[in-house]
Subunit: 370 residues, 2 copies
């Protein structure tokens, strides 16, 4: 992907300590003073756990892209996704670059979304327009990722661009805020990848420059970026490896947002909860158990209520006397289900999106490399 | 299970905030001054998430056991395992009790081990003898548990008895220490149950009274109890739902025992690592990724080495140049595999036992209630 000269670029990256060589290179290039002009993505090999050789390979890729496009190597951001701990097949990658550069086109978003797929079954691309001070701003994004999905970030690569004009420090703030409400609120399998990257590009071709954090313009654009990021993140969950159901977990009445997130992720990560959803079995006790071990030490379980798509199933910490198994059965058969939990301890909330754990998840991941 | 009059009893229980009614009753009875004389276990229903009614049912069970055996209700410890959040079928349970009491016999350990099975495929019973001051002491234990297995404790019920004589506070210390090295070092699916209970009984029929923590007698007996507990805990992992492989994860050269445990459990809980083991696929990068997201913030990955059954696969944080894929393949085909990781930051160690994630895990848990 080539960026126009005026573009500002910001990014957030995995917190995995074994982060991939391209992530290290991206961080380094973004810290420098050069303007980013190109993004290069390879799939099939993560270039992670590859030590010094991996770094050399990532830099060699940047150099070749720079040579072919007439920019500097430190203006290139590299991204990789695929198998970890195997050497990057550098020669194959380099020999394919001239054709890639030749094929560059302004309307290739969907082609790019398809090109970066790994175990994804559908390409993920979203576009929104928002009116800022009478000017129509476009925000378009693509993403990939279907397994090893957990904040921070999901195993995913995400690229979002807008034609708005935004100062670099504000753009960095915006991408962090958008990530926290989207990619950092999803999980497929609880595995945080070595390669997660989300990049936000502002080409600055439309409208006035956004320079102030609290301004209406900033808030409007952040809203659009967050919407695009959330749609992409939810698309990743819907396409989660082997997923048959899309589950929204909403925790309310918590003491802090952080404890709400912990409870939500405890539910979202429980293999027992996930297999029950796969089986359309309202085995609600498994959800209660996950709430109980989420690490909220002073939780008073007798205050807890739980709803399944609006049906109250738990009241005062126990089964709601009015709840009938048939009601739970009916909800569990749906493709999209919302679990809402009231903790009865405060005003904080959190929402997390996840999917079920199916036979296909095991099949896909048992056979990934073969 | 009826205990002789002089028996001392100690126990450790789940830390799940949604702990089951029988766990609450056990804790209450053990805190009191009465001597425990009977243990009653039901399977199929966990009596958890059942609120006040669940507590009444657990107490009613104790009362009926007491009436039938001529002891007091607060001398009875109740245990339940099974589906959460469904009312205990109290009448069925009570009507079965007279036959249970009539069948009590001193040599029924194996019958009991069979009776408490749920999704277990084999009964779990272990016995060891140890010489303490010239006297032969016997330690015998049974356990159940195959899913919802994670500290603290595993989803499991464990009952260990010795004919040694031990003061109550020392016995409580001993059961805690034995649990930490055994049941609290295993995981099948990372789900901490609402009902976990481990009870240690000392009938006091053999040998002198053990009264001092640092004494040779204490250490010898604790060793035997820990051995029995470890054998039972490992048997639970071997019989983990759908398990086809037994995996030992040994973390060395950590800064603290706690961080070693965190790294070990990050590996042990990763669905991607577990499915790779199921597939006998040396997809070692998934293990590196888990080490990287285990939450050791200042981890220097360039110091890390990793061994698969003695074969060094990672050196200086990257693939060992001498490692060949065929070597990894050969190890991964084994039924028992040890992953050893050197963190290169200190002297601490931790060991955790787990199993793989197979199609059968999904099948068993998707169909558990049907």
């Amino acid at each position: 992907m080539l960026l126009s000269e005026r573009s500002e670029v910001a990014g957030v990256f995995t917190r995995n300590r074994f982060c991939a060589a391209p992530v290290l290179v991206c961080r380094q290039h973004l810290k420098g003073s050069a303007r980013m002009r190109a993004l290069i993505v390879n799939t099939g090999n993560a270039n992670a756990g590859t030590g010094e050789a991996g770094l050399r390979d990532a830099r060699a890729t940047c150099s070749e892209v720079a040579r072919l496009t007439g920019i500097e190597p430190n203006q290139v951001l590299p991204f990789s996704t695929g198998v970890i701990m195997e050497p990057l097949p550098l020669q194959r990658l380099l020999s394919a670059l001239p054709a890639c550069v030749k094929d560059l086109a302004e309307d290739s978003w969907l082609d790019a979304a398809e090109a970066i797929m790994t175990t994804d079954t559908v390409p993920k691309a979203v576009s929104r327009q928002v009116n800022v001070d009478g000017v129509t701003i476009t925000v378009t994004g693509i993403a990939k990722g279907a397994g090893m999905i957990h904040p921070n970030m999901a195993t995913m690569l995400g690229f979002i661009a807008t034609d708005a004009s935004v100062e670099a420090p504000l753009l960095q703030k915006m991408v962090r805020e958008a990530a926290d409400r989207s990619f950092n609120a999803i999980t497929v399998d609880g595995d945080t990848s070595t390669n997660d990257s989300l990049v936000l590009i502002a080409t600055g071709e439309v409208g006035g420059r956004i320079e102030r954090e609290g301004s209406n313009q900033y808030i409007a654009l952040r809203g659009a970026v967050t919407q695009v990021a959330t749609s992409l993140a939810q698309a990743i969950v819907r396409d989660g490896e082997g997923a048959t159901k899309f589950i929204t977990i909403r925790i309310e009445q918590g003491h802090t947002h952080d404890e709400c997130r912990r409870v939500a992720f405890a539910i979202a990560h429980s293999p027992l909860v996930k297999t029950a959803f796969f089986a359309s079995d309202p085995n609600l006790g498994r959800i209660l158990a996950a709430i109980g071990y989420a690490g909220v030490e002073d939780l008073d379980v007798s205050l807890i209520a739980m709803y399944l798509d609006g049906i109250r199933v738990v009241k005062d910490g126990g089964r709601d006397p009015e709840y009938r198994e048939e009601q739970g059965q009916a909800v569990m058969k749906r493709d999209e289900i919302t679990i809402r939990v009231e903790l009865g301890r405060g005003e904080a909330t959190a929402t997390v999106w996840t999917c079920d754990l199916s036979h296909d998840y095991v099949t896909i991941n048992a056979e990934y490399r073969t």
